[in-house]
Subunit: 305 residues, 2 copies
């Protein structure tokens, strides 16, 4: 018994193409339609066989759907929803995969007909790659997907979207959009902002050339470049859409960094040692919960991987 | 023809034990002696068979050596060198593996007899693990090792240390200690400082509990926790020993971060997009130079790895 029989995927980049592949793998009876605003992406999606039908118009993709999943940057979700609204079946459930939820919930509520069942979602998964070729069916397996339905949303619709993500291999959590945006500001948005900044800083140093930075990157820097290679449009939109929460955690981070800077300047080794010991415990928690691999990583190309 | 026939490894943690294993694998004719200040580490090293002889006193390990390699935290290098100096053969070459080079060069020159051939070295490799059990022979393969001999050092000694690291699989570069400290402040020390800070910030938030931070860490945060799980003693010493270069790049980083913070507050999406596009190119350079794996990483447990 499938939670949905006709799934429309709007936006066929890394996440959308992974959703399409995962639906094909996990729900073999379901019909899949797809659309992307970029003709080149539509062409690639057709070549890859990502959907039963990749349509040139978003409305054509959703006209028979019972689930519409918007996989576009969060800044484009309102416009994408408005464009397909006239063709949306009254009983279709609408969801998304955006990394911010309060702004998305507001945009969807405004763009879609009153009474539409809207269940915003965020699968906490991704890679530094972009585009329809970069997706893979296993992307969501063992990862969390957070649903943020508004109060009063039909519980049956929430349950079906939950079952959908579980079918794709994810674990599902439900929380308010505000709490989601607060938690993800810490666990995802701030780390990306920091990584983008440090890679920019390193590229701009006039007395150390970029070639040296690249050559000696294995000492830690390369792990930041991985994160800082993520999709620019997606991340621009995230920082603009979740501005308040990001600015708040950024302020705390800056205070903590200034505290460490002062300790280094004053030669306070005990303060440094205590923090560096404390942060190890967080790592252990992540490995124990299965959210990362316990194997040593820095030498990864050469250590049997 | 081996560059050295009798290698003494002082300090048998992650790096020292990896050196011992790599010497065993790459230079099967060489004798290996070892010492660690910690009796428990010596016991583990004996159980693991890391050396032909693990001695209780550092002098006993070096008395017949033609290469002495100090693998202790940079803050302990001077004391370790002074302790073995009375037993050091006059023709032995002394090297190390410290992450800072100017302070190490000064400490070694002061602690060792005049005329000792000193070739400080830094293999740019490591993992977030510590201790003798964490080492592995392949750690240095394909990684860079930077030598920073003082002006006037016997070129033959430099050549032998270079041949030693090449035998262990590393590529060798030579530069001044000052330049090394400047480059590594960017590619290694600042990334570690930032990672320690952000993991600390996330642990201290009162309105998001640590369990949530761990659960939803796959959005970027977990990659910082890996770096922030590195050895506390080693990293405390690095920041104290390379203080000036670290504080300088930290100042630049903070300026750049403030610039981005301002762009987010003002909603300047173009500035964000331009930076995020530029940082992608740095990532491409690292993958092209073989200093990281091109495969997508965030979903790493579940994507055929």
């Amino acid at each position: 018994m499938l939670p949905f029989a006709r799934v429309a995927v709007i936006g066929l980049g890394l996440i959308g193409s992974s959703v399409a592949r995962a639906v094909r793998a996990a729900m073999p009876g379901a019909a899949i339609t797809g659309h992307d605003a970029d003709p080149a992406v539509r062409e690639a999606a057709r070549s890859l066989g990502l959907a039963d039908d990749v349509t040139d118009h978003p409305g054509a993709a959703v006209t028979d759907a019972d689930l519409v999943i918007l996989c576009v940057p969060v800044g484009a979700i309102g416009a994408a929803a408005a464009e397909l609204a006239p063709d949306l079946p009254a009983d279709a459930v609408v969801t998304d995969v955006g990394s911010c939820k309060a702004s998305v919930a507001a945009a969807l509520a405004q763009a879609l007909p009153p009474g539409t069942a809207i269940v915003p979602a965020h699968p906490v998964a991704g890679t530094e790659r972009s585009g329809p070729e970069a997706g893979f069916a296993e992307l969501f397996r063992g990862r969390w997907c957070i649903l943020t339905p508004a109060d009063g949303t039909d519980p049956f619709a929430v349950g079906r979207v939950s079952a959908f993500w579980q079918a794709l291999g994810a674990e599902v959590a439900v929380m308010s959009p505000e709490r989601h945006d607060r938690v993800l500001a810490v666990t995802s948005h701030l780390p990306h902002l920091i990584a983008y900044t440090i890679v920019g800083t390193a590229s701009d140093l006039e007395e150390v050339d970029r070639g040296e930075v690249i050559t000696y990157s294995a000492g830690g820097f390369r792990d930041f470049t991985r994160i800082a290679a993520s999709d620019p449009t997606m991340w621009r939109d995230v920082f603009l859409a979740n501005r308040d929460a990001v600015l708040d955690v950024l302020q705390r981070f800056t205070e903590d960094l200034t505290h460490l800077q002062r300790a280094i300047r004053r030669g306070d080794g005990d303060l440094l040692f205590d923090l560096f010991t404390r942060t190890r415990a967080v790592r252990r928690g992540i490995v124990e919960q299965g959210q990362d691999d316990a194997r040593a990583d820095f030498g990864r190309q050469d250590h049997g991987r």
